[in-house]
């Protein structure tokens, strides 16, 4: 037995939100359960009620459109995102990040909405969503609103979601035809592990826009301030410039996975690897 909670499977977002509101904090939304159930088991603190949103059709939609970007329902499993051709081609960092979470079995249950609602500083999809400029659509008893992803994370396992609100979709704005992105994660073992550090970079040569986000190095995943690319700047000089910005923006700690010093040392390594992938001359972008 994992906990003493009761369980309800709801058929609509409205039904679920009404239940969450009526229980006044005693009810918790359930998606894949790969974080929530482990947490209930480990802490012994059980909510009164789990409200299972997984069967709501709207939350399982994955819609992609070259002109309109992508809309991913909160309950879409990470394996579905990792295997989606358009996500791989156009939103590469997100496909790679989704594929790096847990094991294959976990990714069949774990959802995109759950990964960000759980708000772990090490959440793998967070840096990818940050560089892709995602918005998080949420619904509560008072209606719906849109939260830019860089306003969602407020602390370790804390978000700007209000009591009773649930994430319904994550929307990704369209990317330019030459835009691309990549994600890398450093972990202790090759198999499945939480990140020592994870990082995503997106680059659009037409907009001259480059965005970098870093996870597992502060209380929230961090999106670096945008940088202007100067023409013909060598990749190693750009990496150095970005490293200076990154080192000032992050504040890693020593934990079971790595020391703060090691994490700081990995930043230029991952930056350099990601920039090589995205900006190398053979990529044809610069």
């Amino acid at each position: 037995m994992i906990g003493t909670f009761d369980y309800v499977r709801v058929g609509s977002i409205k039904e679920g939100c009404e239940l969450l509101a009526a229980r006044n904090g005693g009810a918790v939304a359930l998606a894949g359960g790969t974080d929530l159930l482990v947490s209930i088991r480990n802490t012994g603190r059980s909510p009164d009620l789990l409200v299972d949103f997984k069967d709501v059709a709207q939350l399982n939609r994955l819609v992609t459109d070259n002109d309109a970007g992508a809309m991913i329902g909160a309950c879409v499993p990470l394996n579905v995102i990792a295997d989606n051709t358009v996500i791989n081609d156009r939103f590469t960092a997100l496909a790679a990040a989704a594929r790096s979470v847990g094991s294959y079995q976990v990714r069949n249950r774990a959802t995109l909405g759950g990964n960000i609602a759980n708000a772990s500083p090490a959440a793998d999809t967070a840096p990818a969503l940050l560089v892709l400029g995602a918005s998080v659509n949420v619904t509560g008893k008072d209606g719906t609103r849109k939260i830019p992803i860089d306003k969602l994370f407020t602390g370790v396992k804390k978000t700007s979601l209000r009591a009773g609100e649930v994430i319904t979709d994550i929307s990704l704005p369209p990317v330019g035809s030459r835009a691309r992105s990549a994600f890398l994660k450093k972990q202790r073992v090759k198999g499945h592990d939480l990140a020592i550090i994870n990082m995503a970079v997106s680059y659009d040569p037409d907009a001259e826009a480059l965005r970098v986000a870093i996870g597992s190095c502060a209380v929230t995943p961090i999106l670096l301030p945008p940088v202007n690319l100067s023409e013909n700047e060598p990749i190693d000089e750009l990496a150095e410039r970005l490293n200076d910005i990154a080192q000032a923006a992050i504040s890693p700690i020593d934990d079971i996975r790595a020391s703060a010093v090691y994490r700081l040392g990995l930043v230029p390594v991952l930056l350099s690897d990601l920039l090589s992938v995205l900006l190398a001359p053979e990529g044809g972008a610069r």
Binding site: M1, F5, R9, G33, T34, R41, Q105, K190, G191
Partner: protein
């Protein structure tokens, strides 16, 4: 504690049971249906020894609530053999020497089963990705990878 009545198919047999909300699918399989092939190792989705197929996809049954499986289809290692005859995949595990203590084997076979169903001719890297969530402390994995390869090759014959 309030009980929920659920109906699911387990290895092709329809089962109707009353379960408390906090019961895991693993507990339902082992303690209600006496299918003790799936094992509990970590109870946190890390070790994969409880792997079963839920609607054809491998999941760690320690992180699935029994009540969530109402109306679903579950396959366990007990569904591999037919009429007392081991499946080709099970036989490949024996032939490749992929079993030592055996604790990981039921989960390992189910992960491999799901892989071969979605990808009948996997590369070694694809096999490794599919079983990365199944820990084995005996074999060093090489013989397990060889077993999955052997089962895949057997399909071509």
């Amino acid at each position: 504690m309030k009980l929920h009545e659920i109906t699911l198919a387990v290895n092709g047999t329809r089962e109707t049971l009353s379960v408390p909300a906090g019961m895991t699918l693993l507990e339902l399989l082992r303690e209600k249906l006496y299918l003790t092939g799936p094992k509990e190792g970590c109870g946190a989705g890390e070790c994969g020894s409880c792997t079963v197929l839920l609607d054809g996809r491998p999941v760690t049954s320690c992180l699935v609530l029994a009540v969530e499986t109402d109306g679903r289809e579950v396959r366990t290692i007990e569904g591999e053999a037919t009429d007392g005859q081991l499946s080709a995949l099970q036989q490949a595990f024996i032939d490749a020497g992929a079993i030592q203590c055996g604790f990981c084997t039921p989960g390992m076979v189910m992960s491999a089963r799901a892989l071969l169903e979605r990808n009948p001719h996997p590369s070694d890297d694809e096999i490794k990705e599919a079983i990365a969530g199944n820990l084995c402390r005996c074999t060093g994995y090489e013989s397990i990878i060889a077993a999955v390869r052997l089962a895949a090759e057997g399909r071509e014959k």
